[in-house]
Amino acid sequence: MYLNSIFADPERTAKLIDIAKSSLQPMLEGAIMNTIPLTILSFIFGLILAILTALARISNVKVFRMIARVYVSAIRGTPLLVQLFIIFYGLPNIGVTLDPFISAVIGFSLSVGAYASEVIRAAILSIPKGQWEAGYSIGMSYTQTLKRIILPQASKVSLPPLSNTFISLVKDTSLASLVLVTEMFRRAQEIAASNYEFLLVYSEAALLYWVICFFLSVIQGFMEKRLDRYAS
């Protein structure tokens, strides 16, 4: 019916193509100005948080382990959207008002931090104990061994699952539209609300997400090959 109506009516077809074309620019703008920076920033902060959390979870200080556990459990046990709402709409009640973009970065970083910490923890634990001991035996400290011996090997192990986290994050940033970040999907909502061509505009948004994620998975493939130089 929809397709019928398009092909039956050349005028409508032209109009739809026009809408598709004209909405491309604002959507790409949303992607470049917000979706992509939001994804990258959240992933970087999230990874740092994840490494710290993973180290806390395998540390022999009980308090660190406890804090890390509660954090991971809380983030994994609550919906991301609810977390974003608490940060953006909730915190103003205690006098903390944050810019939409910043709230979103905080929310997504916390989320990535929790999920990726499990990946990183498993990766660190998968490196044989002998690697730590070899580092110690030539006089390296915990931090030196971690940084130069363990994490490089763990990063190879965790690259595939972390790439998946990254790709999920790209898609999850669409939730930021609900805390007023004018990222790609919010642009799509605005456009669709003005012309009622929901199917067309949202499909176009979906296609753009797909293209971005496709490129990311190509890059992931390259990186895995590069890291495969040494087989262990």
Binding site: G130, E133, A134, S137, I138, G139, I149, R229, Y230
Partner: protein
């Protein structure tokens, strides 16, 4: 000079070292033999402070660690640099080439310049017969070659004493010789060495002394010829009969 005094090590309820006393003079090669579980590895690991002894004291070339008191991380790190450890399973860093494996300690721990460290590493790898393999990753090397890199890596820290924990027991028989040769050369150059091994030929040819350990104590120590042909203790005799 290495001095071990009253060394005890306990894992939970299990007492593995029950008062080890040992002195090894500079330049001497000591081979440690003994049945599985007798504490040979644990003793080496205590010397390298990969395990913290329950009590006792170790002194290497005048530097002391007394485990009856709390020892700081800094003291442990400084003490570790006196010993070079060669592991049964090599434990090379798989993401680094042979050269990088050897350069790692000098650069990171000794803060040597990259060029100086590279030159030294190159020379050490040549010394262990791997001058043509410097850019190979561990996975591209045979077990014997990997173990020789392991020896070069430990030597790069210029330790006072080299500790070997069954360095050839993970190797195919035809690769044992090349590793033992490197070790014999080291012994000849006057390196102080403590070697846990079941290679009796190495013990006969390179050791100044052989120590027999059983159940966490040193049962007997003597010159290789003496201990192999004429053991004084019944337990030593039994063990030697079993392995020969």
């Amino acid at each position: 000079m290495i001095l071990i005094k009253g060394l005890y090590k306990q894992f939970g309820q299990l007492e593995v070292l029950k008062g080890i006393d040992l002195n090894v003079e500079k330049g001497k090669v000591v081979v440690v033999i003994g049945p599985s579980g007798s504490g040979k590895t644990t003793m080496l690991r205590c010397l390298n402070v990969l395990e913290t002894p329950t009590k006792g004291a170790i002194s290497i070339e005048g530097q002391n660690l007394d485990f009856s008191k709390a020892v700081s991380k800094k003291n442990i790190a400084a003490f570790r640099r006196l010993t070079g450890m060669v592991f049964q399973s090599y434990n090379l860093f798989p993401h680094k080439t042979a050269l990088e494996n050897v350069m790692e300690g000098p650069i990171v721990v000794k803060k040597e310049g990259k060029e100086a460290a590279r030159k030294k590493a190159q020379a050490l790898l040549e010394k262990v017969g791997l001058g043509d393999k410097v850019d190979f990753y561990p996975a591209q090397l045979s077990g014997g070659q990997q173990q020789r890199v392991g020896i070069a890596r430990a030597l790069a820290m210029e330790p006072e004493v080299m500790l070997f924990d069954e360095p050839t027991s993970a190797l195919d028989p035809e690769l044992v010789g090349e590793v033992l040769k490197v070790m014999k050369d080291l012994a000849q150059e006057g390196m102080t060495m403590i070697v846990v091994t079941h290679e009796m030929r190495f013990a006969r040819e390179a050791a100044d002394e052989v120590i027999f350990m059983d159940q966490g104590v040193i049962v007997e120590r003597d010159k290789p010829d003496e201990i192999f042909t004429n053991p004084k203790e019944e337990r030593t005799r039994k063990f030697l009969n079993m392995i020969q």
